[in-house]
């Protein structure tokens, strides 16, 4: 897994960057979606992967013995997913309204606020 996940993250970031640079707004949305997922996976991977080692302290001990999975990055990723989800939901609604207002989903026609 340690070797596979970085490759997956790389592919996600590459696809995300490519989609972000398209003119079609829906593609841009998909691009930032992939981008934020890649970021979440990266936090997860960078903090170290381990399986079958829950961070539970034995009833008669005060500290944990031996290697264990780090729960903090999972909490961080969870927070980041929730925030990303909220922003993305807003972004989709915004793009829909922008499409209704401008009649176009082509970013090249979004020039009115630039001149």
């Amino acid at each position: 897994m340690e070797n596979l996940l970085p490759i997956a993250i790389g592919i996600l970031i590459a696809c995300g960057s490519y989609l972000c640079m398209r003119r079609n707004l829906v593609r841009v949305l998909l691009g930032i979606m992939l981008f934020s997922q890649a970021a979440n996976l990266l936090i997860f991977t960078a903090a170290g992967l381990s399986s079958g080692q829950p961070p539970i302290i034995a009833p008669d001990k005060l500290t944990i013995a031996g290697p264990h999975a780090d729960p903090l990055p999972q909490a961080l990723v969870l927070t980041a997913i929730v925030i990303g989800f909220a922003v993305l939901a807003f972004a989709i609604a915004l793009v829909l309204r922008a499409y209704h207002k401008t009649g176009s989903d082509d970013l090249d026609t979004f020039r009115r606020s630039d001149s």
């Binding site: 972000c20 707004l25 841009v28 930032i32 981008f35 934020s36 890649a38 970021a39 979440n40 990266l42 936090i43 997860f44 991977t45 960078a46 903090a47 170290g48 780090d70 903090l72 990055p73 961080l76 927070t79 980041a80 925030i83 990303g84 909220a86 922003v87 807003f90 972004a91 915004l94 793009v95 309204r97 922008a98 207002k101 401008t102 970013l107 979004f110 020039r111 009115r112 606020s113 630039d114």
Partner: protein, 503 residues
């Protein structure tokens, strides 16, 4: 449990958001009154917090009594306290202005979003945890996205799409940097990071996380080459919102740069300094040239935000105590002056019916007092003594020459001259030339509530100019805490851990 002023700048706006959402049907005057009252309360709390920090040194609050570095710590050093204070002042000014300006387009959601924005900004200034900083950034950005989009015209939607996309990517960069840093150190508490990174020494991954943060904060601060979202989104918002954005949002990015690159990456300055200086110079130059080609007042001012951000980044890039003091002073001066210029631009627009320079004119004859009111922040932005901008630039230039960065200073002075050119352009077009429509030029009345904040902020600018010593002294003490983070680390991570909650 003794009185903790440090949590109140976060708790008060949060309370106001809840209250305002419940009172959405209560009518606009009531909502504006609550909005203003909440800002007044924040200002009072900010003053108390500032006095406490100034007298007793760095304050830290462990939320939920979890000891650092495990829980989220709120920290207020002098820089944070000053920023919270300025935020409250600008918040109050814009809230008063908004009450006079009218916010019907926001369908009752203006005041809660406004308080949510202040909540995010205050949180960013007070947190001592990098991941928590990300969360506050998102609180701030989310409310600003809605504030841009809600008035609901075509330009607003287009601007909101651009603004959202670039800031979303910035957040992703921030997260990637956090992931790398956590993987290296196993902590995200800034004081703890400072200690651990110093122990790790130079390391490729540490430097790459620093660059990721530079990109993330750079997009939010609007530095070259990431500033494109700024001049295409700020000018479509109603004036009180634009003033708040112009004053605060980019400065949160600058604050994050100053905090992270002095505290967390204190040992990586040899690598960061040339990068920051190059970015700062390019930001100043591109911003000021962008402004020179514009003829719509909010767009001119938007480009000037970018060019002024360059000065602050340069101050961070020098990494000396005097230069950081200049940055602190510059940030405060710029927040007051730039928000005021946006507000006065709105007054010009209200009187003459447009903020497009070709449609304005003749105001000097009709309202000489407005002309003088405009000249105070405009000349301050250009760096004319004895106003606040002169002392901000003077300290930066003196320090730059002292450490032998002549070319940076030459660029800074040239940009100052071009800034003056843009301000004189607004002056000529809006005040000096004859009204383009002659007698048919509209001349509407401006409500008192829109003028009062402009006068008050201009008075602040003059006070800064008359008593620069007092304010420079505060900035110098804040910079001392930035250059020597021992007090900050000691406040967050006491050598002897505090006993858990008293019985």
């Amino acid at each position: 449990m003794d009185f903790q002023p440090i949590a109140l700048p976060i708790a008060l706006p949060l309370l106001a958001v809840g209250l305002l959402l419940c009172l959405r049907r209560a009518g606009e005057p009531v909502r504006h009154a609550i909005n203003i009252l909440s800002c007044v309360a924040q200002a009072v709390v900010a003053v108390i917090l500032y006095l406490r920090v100034s007298a007793d040194g760095v304050q830290a609050l462990r939320s939920g009594s979890w000891p650092a570095p495990f829980g989220i710590t709120l920290v207020a050093d002098l820089f944070s306290a000053v920023m919270v204070l300025v935020t409250a002042v600008i918040g109050l000014g814009s809230a008063l202005y908004a009450a006079g300006y009218g916010t019907g387009k926001f369908r009752g959601y203006f005041a809660p979003l406004y308080q949510a924005l202040l909540l995010g900004v205050n949180g960013s200034f007070l947190t001592g945890d990098l991941f928590n900083l990300y969360v506050w950034f998102e609180v701030m950005l989310m409310s600003s996205f809605v504030l841009v989009a809600l008035p609901g015209g075509r330009p607003q939607f287009e601007a909101a799409v651009k603004y959202l996309t670039l800031n979303f990517i910035a957040s992703a960069f921030f997260l990637v940097g956090l992931g790398v840093l956590y993987g290296m150190t196993g902590t995200l508490n800034m004081a703890d990071l400072s200690v651990k990174i110093a122990a790790l020494g130079d390391n490729g991954l540490i430097l790459s996380s620093a660059v990721l943060f530079l990109v993330a904060f750079g997009i939010k601060a609007g530095v070259f080459p990431f500033y494109f979202w700024l001049p295409s989104s700020y000018h479509v918002t109603p004036t009180p919102v634009a003033a708040l954005f112009a004053g605060l949002l980019t400065k949160v990015g600058v604050y994050a740069c100053a905090r992270v690159f002095t505290l967390v990456y204190g040992g990586q300055q040899e690598f960061l300094a040339p990068l920051l200086l190059a970015i700062g110079v390019l930001t100043m130059i591109t911003g000021v040239f962008g402004a020179a080609s514009q003829f719509f007042i909010p767009r001119i001012l938007s480009f000037h935000i970018i060019s002024q951000i360059g000065y602050m980044i340069i101050g961070i890039g020098f990494f000396t105590r005097a230069a950081l003091a200049a940055t602190v002073f510059y940030v405060v001066h710029h927040i007051l002056v730039k928000a005021n210029l946006f507000l006065i631009g709105g007054v010009i627009g209200r009187r003459t019916g447009s903020q497009e320079l070709s449609m304005t004119g003749g105001l000097y004859k009709k309202a000489p007092w407005l002309a003088i009111l405009f000249l105070i922040p405009a000349m301050s932005l250009g760096g004319i003594p004895p106003l606040s901008g002169f002392f901000a630039k003077f300290v930066l230039v003196r320090e730059g020459l002292a450490i032998g960065q002549g070319w940076v200073i030459a660029a800074a002075l040239a940009v100052g001259l071009l800034t003056l050119y843009s301000m004189v352009k607004i002056w000529n077009e809006a005040f000096w030339k004859d009204a383009p429509l002659g007698d048919r030029q509209p001349d509407r009345k401006v409500p008192f509530l829109m003028l009062a904040p402009c006068v008050a902020l201009a008075a602040c600018t003059i006070t800064f100019g008359i008593f620069p010593g007092v304010f420079l002294d505060v900035a110098d003490r804040a910079a001392a805490q930035l250059t020597d983070p021992t007090a900050y680390i000691e406040a967050v991570l006491p050598s002897s851990p505090p006993s858990p909650a008293e019985p």
